[in-house]
Symmetry: C2
Subunit: 498 residues, 2 copies
C-alpha cells in the first residue's frame, strides 16, 4: 500500500482478450448488417444459444486434443458437472437440432455469436472472437451447397470485395477419401474413424498454400522441421503414395467441368469417389444457372479443411488480390469456410443427419478491408458537437442540441470542463466533423457559428501562424438559426457523412 | 448402452439458460436497433469488452454477497488466477476507463452485451441475459442526468410505448442520505461505507412498490415474514425514525418543483441535502427546456435503487398502463434504470471519477411489448417460398429463387424431401407468407402459381371440405413471370411485410 494513498488495483485484460472501441466496432457492425441482410435474403432464420454448455454436449471438435477440456474454457458448476464456454456455433446447433424434435426440418439458421478458445494467444490470435454462421440441417441436396456458394459470393460483394478479388474454392471429402484409397492409404479404421495416416495426410495437404509443395511432401514423408527448429512428424507414406497424392494435387482448378473430369480419372474405381464427383457436378450445374462462373467459384482438390467432422463438399474463400496501401500483397487465409458434416448430430440421435454450413471470418475480413482501404472507419457516432462556453446558457445548449437531433442529426453536447479550445480539441479527438459555437452575442443575433473540424484539420498544416487562425477563423462561418441545419448537412455531405 | 443402438447423448441446456429462436430474436433485434439509434443520436459511442475478466477487476457490486465469487461464474485460469464471466457492463467500463488513460474525457459510451449471474434460476429469471447501457464517465454535470432522462423517453417512444404509458422516476441518493441524517440514522461508518441500518433502510424503501407502506414499515422496524414464512430481519429503527421516513415517503411526486420544495423542508439542515435538492432543480430546469414534463419524468423520493454504489441522482422507469389482451394490468418492474456512481472507478485510480449511466431491460420490455400486443412477431425472414415439386426442374427453381432475390424479396428454396402438401405445410409452419409452384406446364406457359399462405390459413377454418380446396384452389392464382414480383409484393403489402 502506497503511503497516504489508497491501494490501487491494476486494471488489466486477461491475455488474449481485447477491448473493442468505436472505430473497429462500427466497422464490424456495418459488416454484420451486410452479411445478415444476405443471410436473410436466402431465408435463413436467426438462432441464439447460451455461451455456456455441458462439455459432453459440445463434444470435442476443435482439433486433435487429448481431453475434452483441452483448448476450451471449462469448469465445474455447483452440481460438479463439467460446463464450458462454447468454442464454435456448430456444436450448439447440433445440440439444438437434437433437442427440439418439434423443429420443422430442414432447419436453416444463421447465428452470430462470441466463441472462446483456451489456446495460446498470439499476434492477431485471440481467445475470444465472433463467428457468424449459416447452416442447413436436414437436407442432403447439393442445392444446399450451391446456395451456400452463392451466399458467400453475395456477402463478399456486399462487403465491397469485388468480383475477381475473391475466390471460393470447393472440394469434396469423398473425393479426398477416394484418392487416398486409390493411393493405397487407409483413410478410416474399423470403427469408421479416420486413421493417423489419413489425418496427417489431410493436415499436410491443408498446408499447401502456406508451405508449398516441398513442405507438403516433407509432411507426407518423414516430417518437417520449421523455421524455429520445431519438428512435425510426417505421415510416413511411401514415395509411390506421395507421387500419387502429388498427381491429385496437380489437377487444374481453372475449369470446374475439366476438374471433375480429371478427378474422375483418379477416383473412378471407388464408389465414394464417383459419388463425390457426382456431387460436384450437381453443384456446378446449379452454379451455372446462377451465372456463377470460375471467376468466383472453382473446384480445387487441394482444399481439405482441418476439421475431422467433414463428410462431403468443403469450401474455403480466399482474397485473391488484397493489396495494402503500398501495393504489397497481403495474405489472410480463408475468410469464409465450411462444409458438409453429416455425422455431427449422430452422437445425440444415434442417426446420421445431413447438414452443411459455412462461417464468415469477420475479424480477418475487417483486417483485410482496413489494409486495402476498402472501408472508411469512423470513431464518432455524433455528426455535430455543441460546445458549452457559457455556463449561463446551459439550457440554450440543450435546446440547440435537441433541435438538431429532431432534425435527424446525431449530436453530442459537451459535458466536460474546459475552455473553448479544449472543447474543440475534444471534438477533434473524438473525430466529430462539425462543432457549433453559441455565445450571448450569437444568441441575441439569432445566429450560431459553425466550425468544419475536418477542414480545419486539413488546413492546420498549411496555416501555422496562430494569429492568422485567430483573426481569419478559417473553416468557420456564422449562420442564422434558420439555415443552421442546411449548412451543417452541406458540410457533412462533403465528407459523405450525411 | 441400448442394445443394437449407439449410445445416445442427452441434448440439454444448463438450468437457467435458454435458446432463443427467430420469433424472439427478430423482435429483440428490432428493439436493439431502435435503442441503438437513440443512443447514437445523442453521440454515445460503442464499446465492447471481453466476457471474461479478472475477478479483482470486476469487484463485487451485484448485491450483498460474502465472497467475491458468490453469484458469479468464476474459475481459475491456467495461471491459477481467478477469472469470471462479467455480471454487468459497468464494472468492465470502470476497468476500461482506468486502463486507457489516453481516452479523451468525458467518455460517453454505449455497450450491448451478455452478462451472467450464477444465481438460482426462476420463472423469467435467467442466468444469462443482455444488457444495453449508456454511461457518461468524467462529467459531474447534471446535463448528463437530464440527457439520460431524455434518452430514456426517446427509447420508450421508439419502442412504441407512448407518452403517458411510461414514467421515469428520479430521486437522489444525497437526499436519501440527508433524510436519514435528519431522521437520526447513521448512513455511513467511519470508513465511509454504508451502515447495516442504512442498507436495510434503503432496501426497505426500495420495496415500497411491491410490499406497500405497511410492509416497508415492518422492514424498517423488527422485520417481516413473507407469504412463504421466510423472515427478513428489519432495520430496527425507533418509531420516531420510522415516522420520519414515512413523512419523507409521503412527499408528492406530481410536480417536480413542488417535490423539490417539500423535500427541501425535510433535508435543508444538511449540506448534502441542499446539494441533492440543487441537483434535482438543475435537472428540472433542463427538462423544462426540452419540454419534458411530469407526464414523462417525475421526482419520486421513494426511488432508491438496490445497488450500494450509487452516489447521486438515480432513475427508474415503469410502464404505467401495460395491459394484456384481457385488459388486465401487468407489472414489469423497472425497465430502464441507473444512476450516478462517482466512486466506482476509485478502486483503480485512487481518485473519485464522476460517472452516471442507465441500463435498458430488453427482456422485460420485450415481454411487455408482447403482452400488450405492441409488437408484431415473425419467425420467418423469408417472404417467399419456392416449392420444388419436380426433381428435373432443380435448376429452374434455383433460377426462380435467384430472380426474386435480385428483385429484393427474401426467398427460401425448399431443400427437404416430400410432396407438395408437405412442402406447403413446411412453409406454413415456418410462417412464410407466400409460396410459389412451378411445374413443367407452368414452365412451358411462362407462368407461376402463387399461394397466399396467410389467407389460406384464415379461410382454412371456414372451408373444411377438402374437395372444395382441391377444385377451387382458394388463395391461389396463376400469373405470368413478368407480373410475378408485383403480385407477390401486393400480397406482402396486405400483411405489412413489404
Amino acid at each position: 500500500m502506497t503511503q497516504g494513498r489508497k491501494y490501487k488495483l491494476q486494471p488489466r485484460l486477461i491475455k488474449g482478450f481485447r477491448d473493442i472501441f468505436a472505430e473497429t466496432y462500427l466497422a464490424r457492425q456495418w459488416m454484420i448488417e451486410q452479411v445478415r441482410s444476405v443471410y436473410e435474403k436466402y431465408g435463413f432464420v436467426p438462432l441464439e444459444t447460451p455461451a455456456l454448455e455441458y462439455v459432453d454436449n459440445l463434444g470435442k471438435h476443435i482439433q486433435e486434443t487429448d481431453s475434452a477440456e483441452e483448448g476450451i474454457f471449462a469448469f465445474r458448476d455447483d452440481d460438479e458437472e463439467l460446463i464450458a464456454l462454447r468454442y464454435d456455433l456448430t456444436a450448439p446447433l447440433s445440440r439444438v437440432f437434437a433437442q427440439y424434435t418439434e423443429l420443422t426440418r430442414p432447419f436453416r439458421r444463421y447465428q452470430l455469436g462470441t466463441v472462446w478458445r483456451d489456446e495460446k494467444p498470439g499476434l492477431g490470435r485471440f481467445r475470444e472472437f465472433y463467428q457468424f454462421d449459416i447452416d442447413i440441417v436436414g437436407s442432403n441436396k447439393m442445392s444446399a451447397e450451391a446456395e451456400i456458394c452463392s451466399v458467400i459470393c453475395e456477402c463478399m460483394e456486399k462487403l465491397n470485395i469485388k468480383r475477381g478479388e475473391y475466390l471460393v474454392r470447393v472440394s469434396n471429402r469423398k473425393i479426398v477419401n477416394a484418392m487416398m484409397e486409390s493411393c493405397g492409404i487407409d483413410h478410416s479404421d474399423e470403427k469408421g474413424n479416420p486413421t493417423f495416416k489419413c489425418l496427417t495426410t489431410l493436415r499436410a495437404i491443408d498446408k499447401l498454400d502456406r508451405l508449398g509443395m516441398s513442405g507438403v511432401v516433407d509432411l507426407l514423408g518423414k516430417g518437417r522441421k520449421d523455421e524455429t527448429g520445431d519438428f512435425t512428424k510426417g505421415a510416413e507414406l511411401t514415395s509411390a503414395q506421395i507421387d500419387c497424392i502429388q498427381k491429385y494435387l496437380a489437377v487444374s482448378s481453372e475449369n470446374r467441368q475439366k476438374a471433375c473430369d480429371e478427378l474422375f480419372e483418379i477416383v473412378k474405381d471407388t464408389e465414394v469417389g464417383q459419388e463425390g464427383i457426382d456431387e460436384l457436378r450437381q453443384i456446378d450445374n446449379i452454379l451455372q444457372v446462377l451465372k456463377i462462373d470460375e471467376e468466383r467459384v472453382v473446384f480445387d482438390p487441394t482444399i481439405v479443411r482441418g476439421l475431422n467432422y467433414y463428410t462431403g463438399p468443403v469450401f474455403e474463400t480466399v482474397l485473391t488480390t488484397c493489396k495494402n496501401e503500398k501495393g504489397e500483397e497481403v495474405g489472410f487465409g480463408s475468410v469464409f469456410s465450411g462444409g458438409r458434416y453429416d455425422g455431427l448430430i449422430e452422437r445425440f440421435t444415434g442417426q446420421k443427419v445431413p447438414a452443411t454450413g459455412a462461417s464468415i471470418g469477420l475479424d480477418r475480413l475487417l483486417e483485410a478491408l482496413k489494409v486495402s482501404g476498402r472501408i472508411k472507419q469512423r470513431k464518432a457516432t455524433a455528426q455535430v458537437f455543441v460546445t458549452t462556453m457559457d455556463k449561463n446558457l446551459t439550457a440554450e445548449y440543450h435546446k440547440l442540441a435537441h433541435s438538431l437531433r429532431e432534425a435527424g442529426l446525431n449530436t453530442e453536447l459537451f459535458m466536460g470542463k474546459g475552455k473553448l479550445n479544449k472543447q474543440l480539441k475534444y471534438a477533434d479527438r473524438w473525430d466529430i466533423p462539425v462543432a457549433l459555437l453559441l455565445g450571448s452575442n450569437e444568441l441575441a443575433e439569432g445566429t450560431v457559428s459553425i466550425k468544419d473540424l475536418y477542414h480545419g484539420r486539413e488546413i492546420a498544416t498549411e496555416i501555422a501562424d496562430r494569429e492568422v487562425w485567430r483573426k481569419e477563423q478559417p473553416a468557420q462561418m456564422t449562420v442564422s438559426r434558420e439555415n443552421l441545419v442546411v449548412e451543417i448537412k452541406n458540410i457533412l455531405e462533403k465528407y459523405g457523412l450525411n
